[in-house]
Assembly symmetry: C2
């Protein structure tokens, strides 16, 4: 019997309890041990709830109970989760978490503490919800050097972009609808500004590179500037606007970015719609692989947390995660990243496109029956080259990067 | 230093050597040990080849060398691979393989021998080439009961169906082309009759159920009867013909099948084209996940084999695979499986469809400008119900199952 504690009885925490109850027999068989929830930590009371008798309000009860071998941290946020996690590890307990903020900020340190004590700090649920991606990176793609990892890592923004595309709605009305359905929060900045995706790609790129990627270093652009007009052009081009979070190896290292991209229908992420997430990786010998599934939601996220609990139970005295060094990875400047750009400009194509071609070289004009403006696609430019050219005109309304 | 031997220096074997050389530094770092190829076993000589000095013709050299801790079996076929694998395990060596015939036939027994000796028998490359699927099933999807696993598991047939669809070619000319490109073998039965996909779904379903699934028990229908006319109807319906290998849980257990299906554009496997493979799984708490990538090819397959070698090196004295019991899983009769059917019949829709509606109930007529025939889609029938009705008419030219 392995005794565990669940810290945080919110959406994911109650999901973890539900998954452990629903699949008790098969989970215990796979773990090779019976897994029993001894405590649930929450500041609130839940009168009448099945976990009522296990509820504790004081973290000290958990950390000081030597019977507890595995702690599930699904509180979210950096503090007190950071302090609690550290103390649990120092007390000889493995920790499984869905807390992307904490993993992105202190993952390397917490992994190192776990490793030094032959414990585990596992965080499959921190990226891509129920999609297995952390464990495959850690133990399946080990023959490869990963040259690129690109994901649709935020279900809220993907849902919004999908509806804008397929129902020709504008940003504000889709956001309101997403909020009313509980897909977007009242303060949606973490999603729509790309911060959530940024933390997740920081975690993935840390694992890929084996070094600490600070999310503050990642160029991040959200979807708040994407308009119904942009989508019209996208449809005209047979492309989709997707918020991509990517890390790519170039000569001198990795660059990382979160940004909307116009991708074509041959791109493996093109048909990832709605609240689904997907992660695409390219290995130097494996080629392309993609992992697709429910990127969020109570039960899919809880499924990933519980899979970590099973693995922790199977490895009570053995550290299984690959090392992720605290040494900081210096990201390559994104100003050297290159792609084509789609540009919307004021004016009329027939009259003004020549001026743009003088500035940007060969361009492909795209029109979408919008009054007083037109669009065009440039050749491949670095960010820097594009910015220099773009600075020479005041006609630009908006630009979106292109992939594929 | 971990000494390994590679048995078989064909396509995959030479790929394994190439991958280990190409990514030597990162592979050794991830394994935590230097991995060194001490022997390569092959009946042939390879004068001038870099492995020439390591080449041995006698298996006894490998099995009797106590320095060898891990053996890569990439010979293919059941014998002598089975005898060699068994003897290696009995001599205390872990074995990593891409050999789907052997895994499908003797996997349970070989896993049990490995387990009883704290060794590993790993076979990530036996299904889906470079796509991680065995390890995710074994250690990531452990919180779930898997209710369905469906894959496009054969790259050759998927390539052929893709070309038939996108270039309106017929089966024979596509097969000839695939053979000339080396995508299909001179004797293509293993691919086009579905036998290869059948062995792979037997392996996946064995892992999902934890019991032995004999591939002889799986209803298997290949793509040899798929014609250019079928594809015309498929396009008319906005559907694709895919050779699916599936295992599904029903009330009384699992049924399994390999068959062409008409799938719609909402199906996660719809856009898997060319030589790519993909595996879709549905968990009772996780929902849907999909794994996509290169299902075959020298380097992707070798990448999966080498990832197994890394895992075996990290676990020299610890069995990591989930148990797969030798106890046979009795599959549920597919005659109770139900779906809609697309049916092509002789005659004219305007004149004859009413007779078909009398036989099959409400039908949707589909025409594809073909002389003397038309098609229709039935409601949901079990295999048995459909067969009973179909036996009452001699107008049927062909029928294809439908999903989604």
């Amino acid at each position: 019997m392995v005794q565990i504690a669940v810290m945080g009885y919110g959406t994911v925490g109650s999901g973890v309890v539900e998954v452990l109850n629903t699949n008790q027999a098969s989970i215990n068989k796979k773990a090779g041990e019976d897994i029993n929830i001894k405590y649930v930590l929450d500041l609130r009371d839940f009168p009448g709830d099945p976990v009522e008798s296990k509820l504790v309000h004081d973290f000290e009860v958990i950390v000081n109970d030597p019977e507890i071998r595995i702690v599930v941290e699904v509180m979210g946020g950096v503090e007190p989760a950071y302090t609690f996690t550290k103390r649990c590890l120092e007390a000889g307990k493995s920790v499984c978490t869905s807390n992307k903020e904490l993993v992105a900020r202190h993952g390397a340190e917490l992994l190192e503490i776990a490793r030094s004590r032959n414990l585990n700090y596992l965080f499959e649920a921190s990226v891509g919800g129920g999609i297995p991606i952390i464990r495959p990176l850690n133990s399946s793609l080990t023959a490869d050097e990963i040259e690129e990892i690109t994901g649709i890592l935020n279900g809220t923004t993907n849902y919004m972009l999908s509806r804008m595309t397929y129902e020709s709605l504008d940003f504000d009305s889709v956001l309101k609808d997403a909020q009313s359905r509980g897909y977007a929060e009242l303060h949606p900045e973490a999603d729509v500004e790309g911060y959530d995706a940024c933390r997740k790609i920081a975690i993935l790129l840390s694992l890929v590179s084996g070094q600490q990627v600070d999310y503050e270093d990642i160029y991040t652009e959200g979807i708040t500037k994407i308009t119904a007009e942009d989508i019209k052009y996208a449809r005209k081009m047979g492309r989709a606007v997707k918020l991509l979070a990517l890390g790519k190896k170039v000569d001198k290292g990795f660059y990382a970015m979160v940004s909307p991209f116009l991708i074509n229908d041959q791109h493996p992420l093109y048909s990832v719609n709605g609240v689904f997430n997907a992660i695409f990786a390219r290995g130097n010998v494996l080629g392309d692989v993609m992992f697709y599934g429910s990127g969020a939601g109570k039960l899919p996220t809880a499924s990933a947390v519980v899979a970590d609990v099973v693995d922790a139970a199977k490895h009570l005295h053995r550290s299984i995660m690959t090392f992720w060094s605290s040494q900081k990875l210096k990201l390559t400047d994104v100003s050297n990243a290159k792609w084509r750009f789609f540009v919307r400009v004021k004016g009329e194509a027939a009259r003004d496109a020549l001026k743009m071609a003088e500035l940007f070289g060969p361009i492909e004009v795209v029109t979408a029956d919008l009054f007083g403006e037109y669009g065009f696609v440039t050749g491949v430019f670095t960010e820097k080259e594009f910015a220099e050219r773009a600075a020479k005109t005041d006609a630009i309304i908006h630009r979106i990067r292109m992939e594929g």
